[in-house]
Amino acid sequence: MHRLADLYEALDATTSTNAKVEALVGYFRDTPPEDAAWGLFFLTGRRLKRLIPSKALRQWVRELTDTPEWLFDETYAVVGDLAEVIALLLDQTERPAATEELPLSRWMEERVLPLAGLSLPEQRERVTGWWHVLPRRELFLFNKMLTGELRVGVSDTLVVRALAQHAGLPPAAVSHRLMGTWAPSRAFFEQLIAPDVSDGDRSRPYPFYLASPLEQPPAQLGERDAWLVEWKWDGIRGQLIRRQGGVYLWSRGEELITERFPEIAEAAASLPDGTVLDGEVLAYAGGQPLPFSLLQRRIGRQKLTARVLAEAPAAFMAYDLLEQEGQDLRGLPLRERRARLEALLRDRPMFPVSPVITAPTWESLAEARHESRSRNVEGFMIKRLESPYQHGRKRGDWWKWKIDPFTVDAILLYAHPGHGRRASLYTDYTFAVWKGEELLPIAKAYSGLTDEEIARLDRWIRAHTREKFGPVRSVEPLQVFELHFEGIAASPRHKSGIALRFPRIARWRSDKTPRDADSLERLEELLHAPA
């Protein structure tokens, strides 16, 4: 584990991108492949299934360090990271500088993973034993592995860039090989950096191409004829793979969601072998998309009952063809891919093709955009007809032209400290609106303020706290914020009876008094407005 600790230290000790890539390349070069595979597993944000409940970890460290629960909670709120707080609390006596080196893969396979089969007392004995002997920085890494997440301040893009540089491969090839699920093993890592690009894994998706938000008027994109325009569907971006007799549906988050959508999987079985579609999983019935909140029911359920399937039927709205007859089509222009897509999916109602919007000018298009909300879509996608299918968020060929969000003026009611980088600041907020003389919480939001505003609000919160509930503070209901959100749905789980979709802070309205904030009635009107 020394090598990973060295790498972590090097990544942590610089804010320079080049220095980070250099450190990563050095790690991949000097580390045996079976260990590098595990390093990569954590660097790309993958996590182990939880082996030990975090409650147990907390209890053990409190017992070992004689820390009362309230003090642990206060400390945790300041640090914001369980692995770190444990490492800092245990760092009380002279710790050993270095232990016998056990390579990372053996740490994982001989020590960490086998914890899964043990009883809590056995787990306690082993874990606290390692806590006693691990040097400080490895103690922290070890805790990170146990608690599931090892964020090191490097993006996947940087890791891919470093791997590509180490392997002498194009980044796109490495990125493709890293998609999907893989087991961190010597074989995997060797295949990952192998020069031979004939990739065997039939389930593996292509890296998604992501659109950039359109910030300028669309007329600046030039000739209308050079662009294909579609609705921006409000569902789950997905890639549907039909290869060698199997069907795989991937979400953009690289999660395999095939089993969540049995009707799509079943229909996909009749697609010709060697087909990969890019598109959107939608709640869909009678040739029309349904609101996103219906789809959410499908995602949220543990078990898909017949009733859920009937209430929230799903379809795959296709908009691109990435592979046909086993051939990678991504280099072809969109015009050609689109023509093939339409021919392929003709007469397949489970796979509607995202219709092309024919409004002939940018002006008439702007007009048509007003229909977005009533169509349950989020605006337009604008794609260059001559563009290949790229990967990542490369600006220039794919644009999303979203409709303006809903807004509400709400009052700050509770504040909670953030995590990681924002651990000692109050950065997570709960907002409320009026119901008569009462304030009802309607949304939690944390993004949208500048660092300077966060610092100012943090000071205000500390000076205007009414009550403390553990790490949460209730504050005097005085500050008004304009929130933006994408949608609203009835929600019996919330006291307010509503749930907002993607709420975020647009502006701190210091010009408004609490009386100027909105009422629940106004939000309920949005709820009942004709869809």
């Binding site: 000790a13 003090l71 206060e74 400390t75 990271d81 770190e84 000692s424």
Partner: protein
């Protein structure tokens, strides 16, 4: 919850709108508003404020107090341990180990003894005398780092770490800009590094003036040169520069070309604090007591009552009460301790 000390007898120190006040001695300690007589624990800006009629501080702090309070300020001094009668009480200053000339203030009144700690630390520091535990009935302690995660490493190890960082940057042809308080931390670093190297260090103007004060007081440190004396166009590759945290992100930084930044502070113990500020490196070094230091000191004073000021005062008071069985309560003051910026 702010509890003022309620005793059978009049408290020797209370909090007024002007600051900590001793009624039977008729003086304030580190007042935050101008008063008639101010006793000053040390020369940091939140403790030594301008505008009072008469000041009393320790002899070794007089140079720093002059800088802070102005040439006209009426400052008298007392050596450590020297006693002085003020009104009905006897006062004396005792080393606090915080910065040059820093003191705890002992107040004795008809057999009862109170001690106001000011800011203090228990770790060795070549720039000032070590903290001296003083037996007392009531101890007013600071609580800047009163959480069990705050524990300081041996300062010599931290100095070695700084030197390794500087050497690494030198090899790479980069400057190393280390942010640290201009008073106390900078001089402590220069003194600790003097055990390891003899290279010259560049300093920000604000730091420079205070380094000179320390030199006049006989503290041995690395040779320094103010950045302002460097010619335009000088290369800073390989240099170590000490600057106050307020210089971070300012136009003053532009001259250094390729550089890495570091911050020396107790807050750097928590990773998120460093990342939030975007420093490349954090060095855990504080002039305040860490958690074990605070607990140990509370015990060593033998005080039957502990009052806790600035920082995590609620936390420390509760722990002392519930876990060490001491009579402890928070005392609200606007002292800042080690600020995060």
């Amino acid at each position: 919850m702010n509890v003022s000390p309620v005793l059978d007898r009049q408290p020797l120190v209370t909090v007024t709108s002007d600051g900590l006040y001793c009624p039977p001695g008729d003086f304030h300690i580190d007042p935050w508003r101008p008063v008639a007589r101010a006793l000053i624990t040390h020369a940091h800006g939140d403790h030594a404020r301008w505008g009072s009629q008469r000041y009393l501080g320790t002899s070794p702090s007089v140079g720093l107090l002059r800088k802070r309070l102005g040439a006209e300020a009426n400052i008298s001094t007392l050596g450590y341990g020297e006693r002085l009668k003020l009104g009905d009480v006897t006062v004396s200053f005792h080393p606090a180990g915080h910065v040059l000339g820093s003191a705890q203030i002992r107040i004795e009144h008809r057999g009862e003894v109170w001690v106001v700690s000011g800011d203090y630390k228990r770790d060795p520091d070549p720039t000032c005398l070590p903290f001296e535990p003083v037996r007392c009935d009531t101890f007013i302690t600071e609580a800047t780092f009163a959480l069990p995660i705050y524990r300081w490493d041996d300062t010599r190890l931290v100095a070695q770490e700084v030197l390794r960082w500087w050497d690494g940057n030198r090899e790479a042809g980069r400057a190393s800009v280390l942010f640290c308080y201009a008073l106390g931390k900078a001089q402590r670093l220069l003194a600790e590094l003097a055990r390891l190297t003899d290279r010259e260090v560049l300093v920000h103007g604000a730091t420079h003036a205070l380094v000179e004060c320390y030199r006049e007081a006989g503290v041995r440190m690395l040779p320094t040169r103010p950045v302002s004396e460097m010619e335009k166009g000088t290369s800073y590759a390989g240099a170590l520069v000490l600057a106050p945290p307020s210089a971070a992100g300012s136009t003053w930084m532009r001259r250094f070309g390729e550089h890495e930044t570091g911050f020396a502070s107790g807050w750097m113990r928590v990773r998120g604090n460093r990342r939030r500020r975007g420093y490349d490196r954090g060095f855990v070094l504080s002039d305040h007591a860490d958690w074990p230091g605070l607990l140990r000191t509370a015990k060593e004073t033998g005080a039957s009552r502990i009052l806790v000021t600035h920082g995590s005062s609620d936390t420390l008071a509760r722990y002392l009460r519930e876990n060490l069985g001491l009579d402890a309560a928070p005392l609200s003051t606007p002292f800042e301790g080690e600020t995060e910026d």
